[in-house]
Every structure is written in structure tokens, then in C-alpha cells.
């Protein structure tokens, strides 16, 4: 099972929690919005990715299983 991270850019308000909790995969641009250099989440980071998803105050960070239908934020 492989997982991908996705940001809903309309919902995102640049709180920056995700980059704080998952710096391995997420960095911030000059205005504080997250940049995902790769959407693929390595298996050993899935737990941390879940934590980052749960911490997002606007529910803008999504963790999707590959092949599953897209979830709406």
C-alpha cells in the first residue's frame, strides 16, 4: 500500500503546522504555504504524515492511498 500527500490549496491558510511536523517532506515557500517536493510518502513516514494531516487546523492536508478514490476536503 503506498500513500500520497496532497494539499487543498483553497483550504490552506499557511498555518505551517505540516512543515513543522513533517519537515522530511514539506517545506514552506516565502509566504508560508507548503511545498511538497514529492507527493509519495515513504512507508516509514506514514505515521508522521498522519499526525501532520490531523494537526492541520483547516483540514487542507490530505493523505490518500494510491488507487483509492479522491477524498474531498
Amino acid at each position: 500500500m503506498s500513500y500520497r500527500l496532497r494539499v487543498n490549496p483553497i483550504a490552506c491558510e499557511a498555518h505551517g503546522m505540516c512543515a513543522e511536523l513533517l519537515p522530511e517532506l514539506i517545506r514552506l515557500d516565502d509566504w508560508g504555504y507548503p511545498i511538497l517536493d514529492t507527493a509519495e510518502v515513504p512507508p516509514d513516514l506514514v505515521g508522521l504524515a498522519r499526525r501532520a494531516v490531523d494537526a492541520c487546523p483547516t483540514l487542507a492536508l490530505l493523505l490518500e492511498e494510491d488507487g483509492s478514490p479522491p477524498r474531498r476536503g
Partner: protein, 422 residues
């Protein structure tokens, strides 16, 4: 702006055949005399003919039309065929031309598509403020007693992003007409939360021709990879700016010749409109109107826009105005687009004025790279593609401007400022 076609090419015009020179819409009788009756085609036969024709969407995304038709036809209870005539690109005039001059061809295509996918209705979204399009379509609809499903007309909200597919659906569903987070895409879940086929007026007109004359006829023009003809809006430093129907594979040099030729030595060509790419005039003139060839130099035809920039104009100043416009036209929903395009536009303005730090160009290019792909829609992607090509093609001018050397006359590339959204 004049509206014409290239008369020199055998087999052309197709879409623009029989246009009334007075500017009036073609009547149903004229339409049938020039093109023949709307044919009866079985749904799967039409979709197969479209697939073999190689027709792709003419709204800018180049998506294979047959794939979209199949996706919607396979859905449970598709709701509508939406003719997306929003044409928010200020340098494009071809959809407006079709809706106002050949409304029956557009409606033929929409009805054939509705039958092919099993949609319950046709909705035409016309350009913001276009009373002519509404008038021409209302006149056409009033005399069509043979259409299988009802048609209604909707006016696009103002602003550049209103023509984006998800924004069209948002508007039809009662929203403000802003892009939404996709997927699901409109062909999966759109108008009334059901599968919706959204097509550009030119795409549907081409479909109506393929339904009449078949895929082999369609492929008689163009190249094997890019068959058929295409409408191109040509403007800038040409003698007769307007909409021209050209065969794919035609060199840019011949496109400009069709528009009366260049009025002065050219500095650059803008291919694809404001989501498009600048190319140096010398190499650009040899480019052929074909997807692969354009892609090899980082271009795409977009919605069919070609602007010629003369040597008496300044590419940096013109680009700065366009970038500022695109930043204003952001829906301001997504942070990277809202903040990124504003910062890029301001920095680009400083570069064009010759007051920027020498390393500002590198910073703008980094921002452009950061912003790409991070909006809900492709507005930021198109804008930064334009920015990157402006900084590349007009690199020599940047140095000149820093030394205060620019005697160019402002030409003012067309910007739809009246409809601007803040």
C-alpha cells in the same frame, strides 16, 4: 478586428465557410446550404469517428475530445453538455466569432454531443457582457425545432479564471464562478453534481463537421499528429489582425502573411496567449503550428492566439503589464497564486523599469518555479510560464533597461481591464 480565413489553402475555410460579410449571424438556411443538414449519427459511431479524427479540445488544454466524450457517456445519468464560450483570454476572439456568426454550427455540435453522451440539456455560457452572442444564439434557437434536448444561455461572470472548467461548473451550480479543488473533475461530477461534458465552441463546431463529413475528410488537412484546421486569433504588429482558419502544420510565417503580413521588423512572437510563451522572431517565424514542434521550444497553442511584437515595442514593458493583469486576475483563493503572482508581478515591474537589483531576475525565476502546480486551477501555472519566457527572451532588454536605454513605444497588448476582478 477583422474576421477572415486563409483563402489560399485548398480545403479551407471549413468552420468559417460562408460567413456573412456584413457580420450578421448565418441563418439556418444559409448554414444548411453551405454545410448540409445536421446528420443523424448513432452515439458510438460519433464517438468512434471523433476518436479516429484525432480532434482535441480547442479551449487550451488540448485534451482528446473522444476521451472526454467516452468518460461522460459511461457515467450514470450525465446532466448536460456545456458550451464553454467564456473566452476570458483578452487576446482571443475566435469563440466569440463562432457564437455570433455561426451559432447553428456550435449548436449542431452541442446537440450531437448531447446525444452521444446521453445528456439531458445543453447550456451555452457566453463571454461576460456579450449581448451579440446572446442575440445570435437566441435567434438561432428560436428557429431550431429539431433539437433533441433543450438549450439555455448563461453569461460568464467577469474575470480571467471564470472560463476554467471547474469555475464554469461552480457558476452553473449557483456559486460565484471560482475554480474549485479537483478532482473530481467536471466529467466525473459537475453540473447538478453529475457528469458534465464541457467543450469549447470551436471543438463542438469541429465535431459537427466530423459528424457530417467523417474522420477521413477531417484528416485531409493538417499533419498526421495534428490533423484538421484550427482558428487562430492573430494580433499585434500585423496589417489585418483577426481570426483566421489555418491548417495544422502551417508555419508561423504563413500565419502572419494571412493576417496581412508584419507591419515592421519583428522582435518576438507570443504563442498561446497570456498563458503562452514568447519566442524570438527569427526562430519563431519558422515554427510550424503543430503540438510536438511547439512543445520542443516550450510553447503550446493554447486557445489559438498569436501576437506579433514589433521591434519598435518593448517586450519587457508589455510583459510587465500582462503579468500585473494576471496577478490581478487571480481568484485569490490559493496562497501561492495570491501572494506569488503579486510578488512576481511587482518584481517584474521593477525589472522592466530598470530599478531592480541585478539578482532580482533569479529571485523571480525561483518564485515562478515555487508557484508552479500549486493552485487549485492552472492559472498560476500559465502565468509563470509566461513570466519565465519573458525573462528569457527579453534578457538583453533587462540589461539595457538598467542602463536606462529603452525608447520603445508602448503598444499595449490587449487586457480586458473593464472586466477585471479584484
Amino acid at each position: 478586428m477583422s474576421t477572415s480565413w486563409q483563402a489560399g489553402h485548398p480545403g479551407l475555410p471549413r468552420l468559417l465557410a460562408g460567413l456573412d460579410p456584413s457580420g450578421a449571424p448565418m441563418t439556418l438556411a444559409e448554414h444548411v446550404r453551405v454545410h448540409g443538414e445536421q446528420p443523424q449519427v448513432r452515439p458510438h459511431e460519433l464517438i468512434e469517428a471523433i476518436e479516429h479524427s484525432g480532434l482535441r479540445g480547442r479551449g487550451g488544454a488540448d485534451f482528446p475530445t473522444a476521451r472526454k466524450l467516452r468518460a461522460v457517456a459511461a457515467a450514470r445519468r450525465p446532466s448536460a453538455v456545456v458550451v464553454n464560450g467564456s473566452e476570458t483570454e483578452p487576446a482571443s476572439a475566435k469563440d466569440q466569432l463562432l457564437l455570433t456568426r455561426t451559432p447553428h454550427m456550435v449548436l449542431d455540435g452541442a446537440m450531437l454531443a448531447a446525444t452521444a453522451v446521453g445528456a439531458e440539456e445543453v447550456i451555452v455560457q457566453v463571454r461576460h457582457g456579450s449581448h451579440q452572442a446572446v442575440q445570435a444564439l437566441e435567434g438561432a434557437i428560436a428557429v431550431r425545432d429539431f433539437d433533441p434536448v433543450p438549450v439555455s444561455l448563461v453569461e460568464a461572470p467577469p474575470g480571467y479564471v471564470a472560463g476554467e472548467e471547474s469555475a464554469v461548473v461552480h457558476h452553473l451550480n449557483g456559486g460565484a464562478g471560482l475554480p474549485t479543488f479537483v478532482p473530481p473533475r467536471p466529467f466525473e461530477r459537475g453540473y447538478r453534481r453529475r457528469a458534465t461534458l464541457i467543450q469549447n465552441p470551436e471543438t463542438l463546431s469541429q465535431l459537427a463537421l466530423v459528424a457530417r463529413f467523417g474522420e477521413h475528410w477531417y484528416r485531409e488537412l493538417g499533419t498526421p499528429a495534428d490533423p484538421g484546421s484550427v482558428l487562430v486569433t492573430i494580433s499585434g504588429a500585423v496589417a489585418a489582425p483577426g481570426v483566421y482558419e489555418m491548417a495544422f502544420g502551417t508555419p508561423m510565417r504563413d500565419l502572419l502573411a494571412a493576417a496581412g503580413g508584419a507591419t515592421e521588423p519583428l522582435r518576438a512572437l507570443l504563442v498561446g496567449g497570456y498563458f503562452g510563451t514568447w519566442v524570438e522572431a527569427a526562430s519563431g517565424l519558422e515554427l510550424r503550428l503543430a503540438r510536438e514542434e511547439l512543445r520542443s521550444v516550450g510553447c503550446s497553442l493554447g486557445s489559438g492566439v498569436l501576437i506579433a511584437l514589433g521591434q519598435s515595442s518593448c517586450g519587457l514593458h508589455e510583459s510587465a503589464r500582462v503579468i500585473d493583469y494576471l496577478a490581478l486576475q487571480s481568484a485569490h483563493q490559493c496562497g501561492p497564486c495570491t501572494h506569488g503572482l503579486r510578488a512576481i508581478a511587482d518584481a517584474f515591474g521593477a525589472i522592466a523599469s530598470g530599478i531592480a537589483h541585478p539578482r532580482e531576475r533569479e529571485r523571480v525565476l525561483r518564485w515562478a518555479e515555487d508557484v508552479r502546480g500549486r493552485g487549485a486551477c492552472h492559472h498560476p501555472d500559465g502565468a509563470v510560464r509566461f513570466v519565465a519566457s519573458s525573462l528569457t527572451v527579453f534578457a538583453a532588454e533587462i540589461e539595457g533597461h538598467r542602463r536606462g536605454r529603452c525608447r520603445a513605444e508602448p503598444v499595449g497588448l490587449p487586457l480586458a481591464l473593464a472586466g477585471a476582478r479584484r
